[in-house]
Symmetry: C2
């Protein structure tokens, strides 16, 4: 019950987030996480956990790790570097446009596939009737 352990080992992280050690090391190599070290061992901070949550969410959304890294950087900017902040902001806007385009395409694909399935459904109903 010490307040020291705001820190988690790699295994605790793996259990908590259902990822492999390799994944966490990989994310560190890609500069998505920045665990401290206890000697040679990684100790993940609260901040790492917050970032990992966002990373996994981003992945569910279909973002690449590189996309995610850039977006996380956006969250990080303590507002000191104005020019960079603005550039990042514009980048995020571009990304948003991409996402909306992607959603539009997805909508079309879903509509088409639904139409396919409706046709197929009728065919299969026919097969079922014929089979009786």
């Amino acid at each position: 019950m010490q307040m020291t352990s705001d820190l988690m080992t790699i295994r605790q992280m793996c259990d908590a987030f259902d990822v492999t050690p390799r994944t966490l090391r990989f994310y560190e190599a890609k500069e998505l996480l920045f665990p401290q070290r206890d000697g040679t061992r990684r100790m993940f901070t609260r901040r790492d956990r917050a970032r990992l949550t966002l990373i996994l969410r981003g992945k569910r959304f279909g973002f690449s790790l590189e996309d995610i890294r850039q977006i996380l950087d956006l969250y990080d900017r303590d507002g000191s570097n104005h020019a960079q902040t603005i550039r990042t902001y514009e980048l995020a806007q571009a990304r948003l446009a991409q996402m909306e385009a992607q959603r539009a395409e997805l909508d079309v694909a879903i509509a088409e596939l639904k139409a396919e399935l409706d046709a197929g459904g009728a065919m299969i109903a026919g097969l079922r009737r014929a089979a009786e």
Copy 2:
């Protein structure tokens, strides 16, 4: 104006479907297409074009080429194999459910990112005012 040309060269195919020669050769290697040969050259038939249309549609739906190959093979089985047809149908339905879930998550992601950007926008407006 000869009726001979139900056949198309690789370049005609590329222009018609907006794909590269490499792609068509790749699809042939993967047994998704079966062009005839005029000597050494590929000649794509009406059937190849029909298949390619389905392949590209499948890709828009997010199916892998391997998935697509299996589905095309099922269409080929002249409809004699009802069980397989039904399995394919179910597979497509599952895929549709995936896509709709993905869209739902994407909607959330877009909303979140928009909120982030609104906050960032206000911040940047503030910065601009401070800079004057």
